[in-house]
């Protein structure tokens, strides 16, 4: 039985780049615990010699020639950006 703590939930939120409130941390602790406990039923199955499925199609690497193609312009790429300057995406400073 998996017991997920509030501290774990806060750590996971940090990894996922989500800011959560104390109430949300409590709610997610409860929800994740119940979902993970439910998922524990998979342990009833012996999968020692079972290969994992990543994709259902029997796909090998799909390769193509690395050729430049016309796609979007710099202006178009910046069109939906929340902040931009001099043809670049603008973000808050990462240095103090």
């Amino acid at each position: 039985m998996a017991e997920i703590t509030k501290e774990q939930v806060k750590h996971v939120a940090d990894l996922a780049r989500l800011a959560i409130t104390e109430e949300e941390a409590e709610m997610f602790t409860e929800h994740l615990s119940s979902i993970i406990s439910y998922a524990e039923q998979l342990n009833e199955l012996d999968t020692e010699n079972v290969k994992p499925t990543t994709h259902v199609l029997d796909l090998k690497n799909v390769l193509r020639k690395d050729e430049p193609k016309k796609w979007i312009t710099q202006d178009e790429a910046l069109k939906n950006a929340p902040d931009k300057q001099d043809g670049l995406f603008r973000v808050p400073s990462i240095l103090e």
């Binding site: 979902i35 439910y38 929340p82 973000v91």
Partner: protein, 489 residues
């Protein structure tokens, strides 16, 4: 004129004989929307000005050999439409007014000159089974507006059921086309994984997502799939398998068809009225010369847990792209880079999306990866093997699409696990990558539609359509119309 009274084929004839023109058709769509949308709330964004302009242009040029000439279509709002707002029903993308390109499926519809009427409501980022996690509106079931339309393609199913558009595109990761089709009494197909290009579909769980058509008849559905299916160099997971002429498979003949009915699909937890409707449908198939036997898909009960671990893990990676840098809404409170990421995502995403990202991040995190993510991938193999084995002896698998009919708005939204387990009969199909359709097969005593699910072998959409069409020919469920916004006729 009312769209309700027509199929793509009958409209094609009317357009060809000049009884109507495209502008009449597009007007009929917006008039219906004007009349019923306040009750149904299927759309997030309407495309009226551009649609009317296109209709005028099409009337001037006239029809060539296009297969969807002038047909009004609604598009789920997680499919990219160039220059037309695409929100995924999320506040994060509320200002994404000018997408740079069309999804491959949109290019294909455009090539056949279908007319995009608008973008349809859905659960936020397709995460949900009721369209209640949309941050825009709660779409209502046209058969009874106190009930959910299902989800996540709830807007797509409701718009078709309410006669607002002739057909719609949805996407299906764990049942998101079939379950709302079932709840709204329409036809919805999830194609084989890789059958339809996902290029331009905002990714939720990339190993499971597929785009598919929602229509009022099987024939319309087959016609749309014929157009949107096929290999696409822009989606490396799209399959290089020839597209069949699905419409030509609709012979009405199911003599000798071997049907498997998993006991897990008609057992405990399935509402008696739903079970009865499905058993009645099986009798109908017998009368048409098909045979059915009860079988077992022994790993069915593990599908929901497997699905939520895998789909949430994939989602946690896919949704990392929403960082507030290139598009979407950036938090105004953010002063540092770290805050920009965290606050933009926290303000932009709703609760269900956060819950799935958290679950997925947990399942992929150091120390838990083997116990949860990898374990689920292994169980996925067992679930797929179940289907492989059954399909050695049978042509199709049949059962209910959903254990129940539509539930009431608000009834399950506060209990995530109960909401998740509702998808138990649709999820295995995505995990195995096989095609599945939901068609109307009856009504509950409350007058809510019941869906029959028909599942086929990989790339055997023709067989699925043939079986679905034969049943439709013998029944009238698909002709019944919801009495919404006054009488429909």
């Amino acid at each position: 004129m009312a769209l309700f009274d027509h199929t793509i084929k009958t409209l094609e004839e009317k357009l060809h004989n000049k009884e109507i023109n495209v502008q009449d058709l597009v007007s009929a769509s917006y008039e219906r929307i004007q009349k019923v949308e306040k009750d149904v709330k299927a759309f997030i964004t309407l495309n009226e000005e551009q649609a009317r302009e296109k209709a005028k242009k099409l009337d001037e040029t006239g029809a060539g050999n296009e297969k969807l000439f002038g047909i009004p279509v609604g598009i789920k709002d997680n499919i990219m439409t160039k220059g037309l707002r695409t929100t995924c029903a999320s506040q994060f993308l509320s200002n994404f007014n000018d997408p740079l390109y069309d999804a491959t499926v949109i290019n294909k519809l455009e090539a056949e000159n279908a007319v995009t009427i608008g973008k349809l409501n859905m659960d936020e980022f397709a995460m949900g089974s009721s369209t209640e996690t949309s941050s825009y509106a709660k779409t209502r079931n046209p058969w009874n507006t106190d009930y959910v339309p299902g989800g996540s393609s709830g807007g797509s199913a409701a718009a078709v059921a309410a006669g607002e558009v002739l057909f719609a595109l949805g996407s299906d990761t764990g049942g998101s086309i079939r379950q709302p089709a079932s709840f709204c009494g329409v036809v919805g197909l999830k194609p084989t994984y890789g059958r339809v290009s996902r290029f331009g579909l905002v990714a939720f769980a990339s190993s499971l997502d597929q785009i598919g058509p929602i229509t009022r008849t099987v024939e319309d559905n087959a016609r749309v799939l014929e157009i949107i299916a096929g290999h696409d160099a822009m989606d490396s997971t799209s399959a290089n398998v020839d597209v069949e002429k699905y419409t030509e498979s609709l012979t009405g003949d199911v003599k000798g068809l071997k049907i498997a009915v998993p006991k897990e699909y008609i057992g405990e937890g399935v509402n008696p009225e739903v079970r009865e409707a499905v058993m009645h449908a099986l009798k109908q198939y017998e009368a048409m010369g098909a045979t059915w036997e009860e079988v077992s898909l022994p790993h069915s009960k593990y599908a929901v847990a497997t699905y939520y671990l895998l789909s949430s893990s994939e989602a946690s990676a896919n949704l990392a792209r929403f960082d507030g840098v290139r598009y979407g809404v950036r938090s105004e409170k953010a002063k540092t880079m770290e805050e920009m990421f965290k606050l933009s995502r926290s303000e932009g995403f709703g609760e269900e999306v956060k819950r799935r990202i958290m679950l997925g991040t947990f399942a992929l995190s150091s120390g838990y990866y083997d116990a949860y993510y990898k374990k689920a991938q292994k169980v996925r193999t067992l679930i797929k093997n179940d289907f492989d084995e059954i399909f050695q002896k049978y042509d199709v698998v049949m059962g209910p699409t959903n254990p129940t009919t539509a539930f009431k708005i608000g009834e399950k939204i506060d209990d995530p696990l109960t909401m998740y387990t509702n998808d138990i009969l649709t999820i295995p199909v995505n995990l195995a990558g096989v095609p599945g359709i939901s068609i109307p097969c009856g009504f509950s005593s409350e007058g809510l539609p019941i869906g029959l699910q028909i599942i086929g072998k990989p790339f055997a959409e023709s067989t699925v359509y043939r079986a679905a069409h034969a049943f439709e020919q013998q029944t009238t469920y698909h002709q019944k119309q919801p009495q919404l916004g006054g009488a429909n006729k």
